[in-house]
């Protein structure tokens, strides 16, 4: 079992560019979560899918951020017109029940 896979591990974008982050959950897990980690805010929930359906996006910034799960093997988080304050580590987690398994994260740096 390879665990949760996230690509790329590091991404640098210029202000105003688009960033797409990928997550491959553990095979068989029905839920996929996205979190954002910064030094100041800690770990913040962004959005969540269960059986590919969006369940809760209460943590997503209303503008510029979107997430999809087109099939059971991957989810994407897209940030349009990136801003310096979007710089963070974006973590994906998957679960079968209450226990969430995290990927290594994508470190996004917006210059």
């Amino acid at each position: 079992n390879a665990g949760v896979i996230q690509t790329p591990r590091h991404k640098v974008t210029g202000k105003g560019q688009e960033a797409t982050l990928w997550c491959e959950p553990i095979s068989g897990h029905s839920a996929v979560f996205w979190y954002r980690q910064t030094i100041v805010q800690g770990l913040e929930f962004l959005t969540y899918f269960r059986n590919q359906a969006p369940i809760d996006d209460s943590g997503m910034p209303k503008e510029r951020f979107s997430a999809q799960m087109p099939n059971q093997s991957h989810s994407t988080l897209k940030i349009q017109s990136t801003q310096p304050q979007d710089s963070a580590v974006y973590l994906c987690a998957s679960s079968l029940d209450f226990e969430q398994y995290f990927g290594p994260g994508t470190r996004l740096t917006v210059l």
């Binding site: 665990g3 800690g42 929930f45 809760d56 679960s95 226990e99 969430q100 995290f102």
Partner: protein
């Protein structure tokens, strides 16, 4: 709303000493509490979990007891090791009435010195 409070940002200890990292929570749901540990440049990993009131749960020498009366789930270890140096997060989910997302505290960095 739901929240988790970890009062210590940094705890520095000498190897072999006991440690307690504080965690309190607020929720309207029936709570499920977790401790995650994150070593430098690694993913958070589950250390402990509990939804049972007043029952001690243990793993890898760490232990915690969920006390619903005081809304607490403090993490303890009787003798810390150098390898325990890491960032520790307390997190909350709900057994019912919650979509499954985790609400995290800000984390406590544990530094163990020789």
């Amino acid at each position: 709303g739901d929240s988790v409070t970890q009062t210590e940002g940094l705890v520095t200890l000498t190897k072999g000493l006991p440690v307690m990292l504080n965690c309190t929570y607020q929720t309207t749901y029936s709570p499920f509490l977790f401790w995650y540990v994150q070593h430098l440049n690694e993913a958070p990993k589950l250390l402990l979990k509990s939804s049972t009131d007043n029952k001690r749960t243990e793993h890898q020498g760490f232990y915690a007891t969920l006390h619903k009366s005081s809304s607490s789930f403090h993490l303890q270890k009787s003798s810390v090791q150098l390898s325990d140096s890491a960032l520790y997060f307390c997190a909350l989910s709900g057994i019912t009435g919650n979509t499954g997302k985790l609400i995290f505290g800000l984390g406590t960095t544990l530094q163990v010195q020789p």
